[in-house]
């Protein structure tokens, strides 16, 4: 394509003098630029842009994915507000969020701080911490299905030394445990990523600040609290944002480990969208559900943008 558009360079040299031809050249250079950007634009509109706009439209219809959609006004949205399955699922997403904001965030911060204070072995620790994040979700899920299996996992190993605490505990099939077990596996894969993220931010803090703290006689906790935490605030805000949005949209581990069961005890919003759209084929209502999730995540985004602005001032 560009071979057609791009002229031999000799033409450009002679054209540089006359004004009308210069305008023509500018237009031609713009056309070349557009040609370069076109594949990205086209694929984006086909997969993301177009369907996003269409989804907003479909959320006001009774579309089943095949026959012509019929406009039904706000019916889907009224149904959504009264949909107990949605509130049940969103409640679980909220629990997910609370879990992620405590253990993985805390471990991520602590791990990064410790790592920033050592030299020997730091690279090895970083690699080890990061591997679970790197692995496929289907594999991580398999690892923990094995370990948490009441017959052939940790429970049976404990039995061998006379401990029977975990006998008959079905982590993924017990309605009181399923959600927490899934969130546990998910956080096990995630904290290493936070360590790496926070470590990079901590290494960016001006060394003179640490020296000043040391001269002032700060202990490790004070150094963490008054030098490190303020120093990594933008990264911390970013981490909070991806945790919030990730908890709202989480799909892989609930899908693999419990598929929302037993009896909806570990159902999350993205599983509900999936079932509504691709199993029940209620495309119109699923679009409304999906759109409400997107709006919620937009609220998080705007909230954290405000937080970030506040920091900059």
């Amino acid at each position: 394509m560009s071979a057609v558009l791009a002229p031999p360079a000799k033409d450009e040299a002679t054209a540089a003098t006359s004004a009308p031809r210069r305008v023509g050249l500018r237009r031609r250079s713009q056309l070349i630029a557009i040609a370069f950007a076109l594949p990205a634009l086209a694929i984006n509109l086909l997969v993301i842009g177009g369907p996003t706009i269409a989804g907003i439209g479909y959320s006001f219809t009774d579309w089943n994915g095949i026959s012509a959609p019929e406009f039904i006004g706000l019916d889907n949205w009224v149904r959504l507000l009264n949909d107990e399955a949605l509130w049940n699922a969103l409640g679980h997403n909220f629990v997910y969020l609370l879990i992620f904001l405590t253990v993985p965030l805390g471990v991520g911060l602590a791990g990064a701080f410790m790592l920033s204070r050592i030299r020997r072995g730091a690279a090895l620790f970083r690699v080890l911490f990061f591997i679970p994040y790197l692995l496929l979700s289907v594999i991580n899920a398999q690892i923990w299905r094995n370990i948490l299996d009441p017959e052939v996992g940790l429970a049976s190993a404990l039995n061998r030394i006379g401990i029977h605490w975990l006998d008959g505990v079905y982590f993924f099939a017990d309605k009181d445990l399923a959600l927490y077990s899934v969130a546990f596996v998910d956080s096990w894969t995630f904290w290493g990523f936070l360590v790496v993220l926070f470590l990079a931010a901590m290494q960016g803090i001006d060394a003179s600040q640490f020296e000043a703290a040391r001269i002032d006689g700060a202990n490790a906790w004070q150094e963490f609290r008054y030098v490190v935490l303020p120093g990594i605030r933008p990264t911390l805000t970013f981490a909070l944002m991806i945790i919030a949005i990730g908890s709202l949209l989480t799909f892989d581990y609930p899908f693999i480990l419990t598929n929302g069961g037993p009896a909806g005890a570990s159902d999350v919003a993205s599983l509900l969208v999936n079932r509504t759209a691709f199993v029940a084929r209620e495309a119109g209502y699923a679009s409304a559900l999906a759109l409400s999730l997107s709006l919620l995540s937009a609220v998080f985004l705007i909230l954290f943008n405000f937080l970030r602005r506040g920091e900059e001032n």
Partner: protein, 292 residues
């Protein structure tokens, strides 16, 4: 530092901390080793159990295997139909990487070095699209793919992955390309090179670290992606290794030795690649946002 000054502890205490409290303390190492065990032990159990017989897993659930028997791997490879899964995954990963390079590379080139109109607007649009959750468009996309005949095809999934990876890749590559001195391509143009030649002969060879990062992130994403893979590819013959493994593991729930052996086979290429290029991996995933 004003805050710290007011918090200053008595001098004699500070003297103690100056060495013990702030250097590489035993406490740091204890915590880090503990964390390393939390990360590594479950992986070790996976590898241990992939060598055991079902019987041995029953008597020795988590410990090291009594002998190194590779029979599980051969059996898992056969029964899990892993050759086919890997073939499909290779096509999907290669297609995603190449497609992302082409789309994102040329768009980034236009943004960074060409006279593209509406640059500002395009960048804003890219940021917007990056923060858009896939839930926003997956439902209409599914039915669009049915109509276009792209449902249940490898090409259909590759197109989706390329589209998902392109926005952040454009922004990442743009930062690489902006830094290359303009004199270089101007000299090439004077020598008679056209835009395509400038892009592929001058810019690409210099900007390759950016392309490598983009390739790693998008390839890794395509290898393990689940949401689109389970919904958009239902034919077992076409499934990538991730979803065909999922099916296998759900079909043989109690055969942990076989399923764990299959897991190890799937993970090994990833770990090797990671150990060779860990810096680039970590940097790429930390800047490229999140996977999964």
């Amino acid at each position: 530092m004003a805050v710290l000054a007011t918090l200053r502890s008595p001098r004699k205490k500070a003297a103690v901390h100056a060495t013990g409290g702030l250097g590489p303390t035993p406490v740091s190492y204890t915590v880090l080793i503990l964390l390393a065990l939390i990360a590594a032990l479950p992986l070790l159990v996976l590898v241990f159990n992939s060598f055991k017989t079902s019987l041995e897993i029953g008597t020795n659930p988590l410990g090291p295997p009594s002998e190194l028997d590779f029979a599980n791997f051969a059996e898992a490879w056969e029964r899990g139909n892993m050759a086919q899964g890997f073939r499909n995954s290779a096509i999907i990963v290669a297609g995603t990487i190449l497609g992302t390079w082409l789309c994102a590379g040329s768009a980034a080139y236009a943004l960074a070095r060409l006279n593209l109109p509406f640059k500002r607007g395009i960048e804003t649009y890219l940021f917007l699209v990056i923060s858009l959750p896939v839930q926003m468009f997956i439902v209409p996309l599914f039915f669009l793919w049915v109509q276009l005949g792209l449902m249940n095809t490898l090409l259909g999934l590759i197109i989706i992955y390329v589209a998902l990876n392109t926005p952040f890749s454009v922004l990442l590559l743009r930062t690489f390309l902006v830094g290359i001195p303009r004199e270089l391509d101007e000299a090439a143009r004077l020598d008679g090179a056209n835009e395509w030649q400038v892009a592929t002969r001058i810019i690409m060879p210099i900007g390759w670290p950016g392309f490598l990062t983009v390739g790693l992130v998008s390839g890794l994403g395509a290898y393990g992606e689940l949401l689109f893979a389970v919904n958009f590819l239902v034919d077992p013959e076409l499934m990538p290794i991730s979803t065909s493994f999922l099916q296998f593991s759900q079909g043989f729930t109690q055969l942990y030795n076989l399923v764990n052996a299959a897991s190890v086979i799937i993970v090994i290429p990833l770990i090797i690649l990671f150990l060779f290029m860990q810096r680039r991996f970590i940097a790429g995933l930390a800047t490229g946002g999140t996977k999964g």
